[in-house]
Symmetry: C2
Subunit: 312 residues, 2 copies
Amino acid sequence: MLAVFGHTNPDTDAISSALVYAHLLTRLGVPAQAYRLGDLNFETAFVLRELRMEAPPMLPALAAGTPVALVDHNESGQSAPNIAELTVTRVVDHHKLGDLTTSQPPFLRFEPVGCTGTILLKLHREAGLDVEALDAKLMLSAILSDTLHFRSPTTTQDDRDAVAFLAPVAGVTDVEAYALAMFAAKSDLGDTPAAQLLKMDYKVFPFGEPAQQWGVGVIETTNPAYVFGRKEELLRAMDEARAEDGLNGVLLSVVDILNETNRTFVLSATEEKVLREAFGVEATDGVADLGNRISRKKQIVPTLERYFAPEA
Amino acid sequence: MLAVFGHTNPDTDAISSALVYAHLLTRLGVPAQAYRLGDLNFETAFVLRELRMEAPPMLPALAAGTPVALVDHNESGQSAPNIAELTVTRVVDHHKLGDLTTSQPPFLRFEPVGCTGTILLKLHREAGLDVEALDAKLMLSAILSDTLHFRSPTTTQDDRDAVAFLAPVAGVTDVEAYALAMFAAKSDLGDTPAAQLLKMDYKVFPFGEPAQQWGVGVIETTNPAYVFGRKEELLRAMDEARAEDGLNGVLLSVVDILNETNRTFVLSATEEKVLREAFGVEATDGVADLGNRISRKKQIVPTLERYFAPEA
């Protein structure tokens, strides 16, 4: 049984794609089981409630050499704890290629599109398989989530085409209303502890040589006022994360989904200097206005990579 | 213009796949140009003569940041000299994933099949494009070459299906006769200097930690007697390669295509010991009989990797 899983701090694409790819592989004669590498966020919990589906189980400890399939990630730092000992036989992803290596020829399918779900739809069609309604709604939800319903600059025509194909199969007649319901669920953060809010959608990146380690969190929300109301708590959580994980810097971007803006919490003078020199923005009271740079993958991380890159 | 190229010491798949993928990308609206990273072998020269096609030009020096597409390889040691400075946007390959990384999400299409040509045929069909006769014959030739017309254990059902589809499109009515003509051309080594014979199909692999560097050459031939007639010269060329490239060991497998056997030239007691302990075979007069292990990728290199791997 092939274990299929997305990244740690799973989002809707990581969970949906694990479920959809495991089902697709099973239909193609490769028995597979989806797993998750962490708690569901509120958006993903909403999507699974809508579908009356159970969350995939947490990934158990896997023995060295166990074959696994990765979706929506490929870097070891975002994967199973002992990923280097496991046998990666398949990856479906839409991120840059990191430190993955394999000892045998793998199946790899990477495309520079907005969502893994978009690639999984292609795999169904290439295999000549119909798309079942549950899978359609999972892929649709993942694409709407990753692209913020086409608001993100990561959106491609393939993502739009996939949504146009999937919505009727999934029985979703008003796609924007469904997307807004997903985003509202994601924004209903309630009394989530600040440390958990910070790490909901959070990745650690190595920048430069010798590598600095930077934590970059994002909270995509339709209710930024709520997040700003918890700014002091979140700054404390960022400070703790920096100390605990031995990081050089920590940023937390509060992305206003509906207005497509990014105001980023800045922990200290270190981060202030980097944002000033890399993005040309000044922080005031621990907040830097990054304007419409709402994509960490496409707009924040590449700029930081260039800033920290050694001189050619 | 996207530069598309296969590995150094190009074989028929490396050359054919560069030509076919460049043409496919151009038809899909991504202007591309095929290049090669070395001289044609006799088999590939035969294929291009049959098709009255020019060889792709040698890859010129490319400025840092130039976008490139790789076919039939992904490891930096088998690629353009400054591959680490180039921007790899696409890879189509059927080898294990090595040290490749990218700074942006790439197109990657890896499948564990016998030949890159088999994957390129799928890309045509997925794009809804007809396969032109020249492209069909290039892909057909690559698949027959890489799989030794299905004799190699790397052969998959996908490769067989691709040949069945491509042969009529390419106008090849007797596939085995065409394959034998290719193999005869490959075996007509004439007065090729021994150093060149050794390096015709030759790769350097890192084994173990700290890594030992081993050169592993293969001569696939319908005329092994010719190669054995030049054994002393070839052993001298292997000794020179070891000294010049600072290698820990050098092996040269003489694969008899028609009888599906592998007799491997062994340079010294170092290689003798490794073959004894890894494969359980004894060398006599500098030759070890590796039986029907005719695939370097599937049968030689994995066994050496396991042999040199650090104890778990």
